[in-house]
Symmetry: C2
Subunit: 430 residues, 2 copies
Amino acid sequence: MNKVKIGLMGMGTVGTGVYRLIEGHQDDLVKQTGMEIGIGRILVQNREKKRTIDIDQDLLTEDPYTVLQDPDVDVIVEVMGGVDQTREYVLAALEQGKHVVTANKDLMAVHGGELLETAAKHGCDLFYEASVAGGIPILRALVEGFSSDRITKMMGIVNGTSNYMLTKMSQEDESYESALKEAQDLGYAEANPISDVGGLDAARKMSILSTLGFHVGMNLDEVECKGMEDVTLNDIKYAQDLGYVIKLIGIAKQDDERIEVSVEPAMIKDSHPLASVNGVFNAVYVYGEAVGETMFYGPGAGELPTANAIVSDLVTVVKNMKLGVSGRGMVAPYREKKLKTDDEIFAKYFLRLVVDDQSGVLAQITKRLAAYEVSIEQVIQKPHELEHKAELIIVTHQSSKSSIHKVLKEFDGLEHIDTIKSYYRVETNE
Amino acid sequence: MNKVKIGLMGMGTVGTGVYRLIEGHQDDLVKQTGMEIGIGRILVQNREKKRTIDIDQDLLTEDPYTVLQDPDVDVIVEVMGGVDQTREYVLAALEQGKHVVTANKDLMAVHGGELLETAAKHGCDLFYEASVAGGIPILRALVEGFSSDRITKMMGIVNGTSNYMLTKMSQEDESYESALKEAQDLGYAEANPISDVGGLDAARKMSILSTLGFHVGMNLDEVECKGMEDVTLNDIKYAQDLGYVIKLIGIAKQDDERIEVSVEPAMIKDSHPLASVNGVFNAVYVYGEAVGETMFYGPGAGELPTANAIVSDLVTVVKNMKLGVSGRGMVAPYREKKLKTDDEIFAKYFLRLVVDDQSGVLAQITKRLAAYEVSIEQVIQKPHELEHKAELIIVTHQSSKSSIHKVLKEFDGLEHIDTIKSYYRVETNE
């Protein structure tokens, strides 16, 4: 065998990019793999649709099983998206001994465990580098580059849309609504942006990263998820005054083999490597016991960045086929998963309250905080636009998440506390 | 076979780190490779020396061939340093079918081609991730993550010592001498710092990066090298005023298959991802036609970061042994190497001159620049401390390196030009 045939399932933006790269870089691919890589079949929604690139019409089909059951197709590249139906197709491909490369984070976050097991059982490769942080080869870095290390922390800016919006809000004082509209106009955000701004997209990627980084089978519903819908320009400004920036961050930590994974708008020091990751760019910060601080930065989406990740996976698939070691390189999760309770999750917190501007109020508040063992690093009191009211900004020392939640619950409706404006986790390297 | 024996050649800082990681992370290594990895022999300079860790004395030897010829040793980890003698040892190891992992950039920059060929001939793996940018898995990223892309530019801050010094000079107004002394006191710089500040250390790493990124066999003497010894606080301040920072940067570019590789103190925009890489940290910025901008950031040296890179390579060696594919994964350079001439190397340039403060001087200078087709983007004239003198700062548009050199040569000694204070390449993304 010296020719490998691809079944390309999906011919949207990313599928077009994959087609372009395979056609355009054929010489390099042959040099690197010793094999010709050709497109054998393409699944499309509509064969008659006008396309931006010239494609042999005979390759196109609207029937997935024409691709999946084509005996000449060795590798399926899945870029059609979707979860349930797509899971069926990928399982069908693997069961017929076809290798799979996918960019589908939704699929991998939900069914990754099952699909990887099926792949191993049938001696197939299943790679998904493109599913997290588009063009950044972060999965390889975790699996291979840090294979001998113990990763204790990963922080990811893994959703370009929300990062674009927060960058606009921070740097150009745009409102949430205006930043969202701009992101939609530029095609970064969907008409319904909930998956981006609500954190679900990032949660899927953090679930994949934690599975690989911590060697546990992480489930999507174990990722705590808070969106950025309530982030205000005021919060951003107060954060800046204190030397912080607000980012929608996936945080995955492991202490004493106990794990926490969340996605939330959090404050990080403006000197943190992630703080200068702006616009639609993505970055994953990885802390390993041996290696210390590292960061991987690049485009999180886009036709060619994503296609590059897919075709690089394809090169590995083809090399493995040639060496006869397909499906044998994967390491299944081997650690027992112990999730932290809210009592075991510690961070600093930023609280912003509007309170009555009268003597004794600060004492009352600090007493309540002390009662829950929340100690204070910094307090700033500012005049409020309403008469007889003051704005109170509190940054706590490391406190448990459960304590903070209890405090907030007690503050809600307490005499002299007018409003809890906002609270944020403050992620430092302490 | 279910046990792999390592011959560890060298027991300095990095050797000690490798020992610690292999002993401390044994469980993970077994889980990931299915093999036990043990240290079989250790080459030391002095068996009697007191060590910071407890080692079985029987493992220690002062004779390299006791390690190299031990039939039980499967993999040599070379962390002893040196070039000529070490080349002999590594060749001897490969010729006996032993795989090699090395952290030795000097060796790989000078003899990499020969050693990799020998490895392939004997079916051995030879990996060297630790040789460039310590803990950052950048070689894997180039070889695997971007295998389907065409890399057109790599910029590296790949020498921690010089970056530490430039950071101190930029952020704390320290002089070159004081920053150097501090780097020496902290153990970052050798008593003789020439390899760090002169750019040779960075040149070795750029030679390795260009070989892998551009698929050509790059020789060390093809890397143009200019040190940071002449960088002054004044230059740094002028750069900051213009929105630039000065970094000792390795620049490798490919246009129309023609290549240039250099190391020099250059100016980059303060918004460039590399601009915020401070202290002893390293980073490699990679631009690929498909992927666009990416950056890989982390520790460039140190016991455990470097050891982590070595042991991760070791994991790959062991996996390959188990799969029976040792020495079969490498792709030798397959492109013809065409180096750019100085006429083909284009950049913006920053020139700082002291000139006579009288009418007609600026006209005379701009006329000379025009004669060599160097056009001006920006001119700033400032008063100089000497009477009747002015300081002239010129930022050019993209100009060829040869034109700039001709201009500088003509300026040197020209009437009304008192001194050429400095000149820097200004690297933008144009």
